[in-house]
Subunit: 321 residues, 2 copies
């Protein structure tokens, strides 16, 4: 079974239809919080050697573990509040290692307004494994969902695409023939994702559907389509690239498909009615983040990617191994 079938057939029955679980289709669960709010609750795991290279410094692990969860909170349009942390550490992760890990978390906490409230620390014979449970708040009924896309909506994406997976290539030393500054920028992007919290918050009441791009637009767009019961036609030529991404792809055009099918961008993919385009652009300016219209929601079942020549290309989804 693929990841989707495993979730759908083996794990979704365990929700027993609890409305809080949103059928496991969204980036997070929603719990009533009182005071006209809901809690937005998400839980991700990060394994050294899979999501980041083996031997990654504790600061990068800490930031990445926290920020990928913050990205889920952003995707639901919520404000970060609390997190819990479960650490499985080996004998090499001594007090000095944990002190560096904690210091990086302390810095990110201040930046994003989130505080630790619990967790667990255990030892492992395997790679460092970090699980974060992040809890956000959102006004009741305002959380962004994957299921709200309607035919005729425009499809938007924030920031730039492809940087995350190209950064991983760079960190692996596989971009030796490219501009060193560009590679360094991409590696930094891979190591330090930027959760799009201000954008997510601003999209409340504006976006039809929203999700964060953790596994690459190739597979993630299909997930949004599935949750909404729609199709999408996306124009590959409109996909926004960073200057560093452009520089690397100019030199290594063989990596273009990977840039779209690969993950770790943590940008927001969202839909909005065409008459709201001006508001979406104004929001992008207000939060200082590019927003790019990349296609349309159509009747259908999945995302179709159109190339400049008028053909279509399949962009297989990439899953975190």
């Amino acid at each position: 079974m693929d990841e989707f079938a495993r979730i759908d057939q083996l794990l979704k029955p365990l929700t027993e239809g609890a409305p809080e679980a949103l059928d496991l289709l969204d980036d997070a669960a929603l719990l009533p919080a009182g005071g006209g709010e809901v809690y937005v609750v998400t839980k991700d795991a990060l394994v050294e050697g899979r999501h980041v290279l083996a031997g990654t410094p504790p600061e990068i692990l800490a930031r990445k573990a926290l920020r990928t969860n913050l990205s889920d909170l952003a995707a639901m349009g919520s404000d970060p509040a609390f997190y819990l942390l479960a650490l499985a550490l080996g004998p090499e992760q001594d007090d000095a290692w944990l002190a560096r890990f904690a210091r990086a978390l302390a810095e990110d906490q201040k930046q994003f307004g989130i505080r630790l409230i619990g967790g667990d620390s255990v030892s492992t014979t395997g790679p460092v494994t970090v699980s974060v449970t992040a809890i956000g708040r959102c006004p009741k009924g305002m959380a962004l969902r994957r299921g709200g896309a309607r035919a005729g909506d425009q499809v938007w994406v924030s920031g730039t695409l492809g940087d995350g997976v190209l950064g991983l290539e760079g960190a692996r030393g596989d971009l030796a023939d490219c501009d060193m500054g560009a590679v360094a920028a991409l590696v930094e992007r891979h190591n330090r994702p930027e959760p799009r919290l201000a954008l997510g918050r601003g999209l409340r009441g504006l976006a039809g559907a929203c999700m964060d791009l953790s596994d690459g637009i190739g597979g993630d767009a299909a997930k949004l389509c599935r949750a909404s019961g729609v199709g999408m036609e996306l124009e590959v030529a409109r996909f926004p690239l960073s200057r560093a991404g452009q520089a690397v792809l100019a030199r290594r055009p063989d990596l273009e498909a990977m840039a779209w099918a690969g993950g770790d961008d943590y940008e927001l993919l969202f839909t909005a009615a065409p008459d709201l385009a001006g508001e979406v652009r104004a929001l992008g300016r207000r939060v200082g983040l590019a927003v790019t219209e990349i296609g349309r929601v159509v009747a259908g079942e999945t995302a179709i990617f159109r190339t400049p020549g008028g053909g279509t290309v399949a962009l297989a989804g990439w899953t975190h191994a």
Copy 2:
């Protein structure tokens, strides 16, 4: 640094004094839930080869991961509601493995009234690692805490002690000279802890302080003392033993210290004013669980364990490696 110092010096500062974190001293965090309730939130991790033996069947892993978290909910006097699940699985954990894991969860969910609302599944090169985040509910102001013990209170424990760690010895094949039926009962106890939810619920408004015994009474009693700013005098001769535990310790008296200092019992350790002893006993009868008075809360800083001869014995706390 020991586990306590790591939490106190490196992780507690990350709470930034958030009242929800309870200074990381309790079994779970408390979040306002509206409707006169709080959410009780706990997160534990379980690593194959550390908390359970390598090659443990998926059913046992599933139950143990869920039930140890349910035990934290019981310790706070809360009712289970929801959980999130993060799985790090290797290539050997195929669809059939995951289906068995999910089936065991489905059974336990029905028994304990808890439903899955989210999570993550990733692959690992290391041992199977399962993190559960469990969320319970409790009337506001009624959650049991570790900090409520007062000098003069009686100290109580539920069920029987030592079975968990003796069961682990049995599973390892280290009790070959003991009665096979007794060993089987202890192994089952290790594999399938019983969260004391009905007792925890009944202790609301009755217990001064409460915690669950995951790391052995030796170290755990000291944690309760620390959170309450008190000492305890506990009578080792009163520690309740199961028939299986008695049979094994009669044959292997060398294991007695390990039985008290070892973990995995998931019984509740709690305190109550002496004039409530009748109510505590009545509660035990009502929920069908032995409750045993094992000593007194005194002025002091930690737990002292008195032996029948009138001496004291040090029972070092055991931490999940």
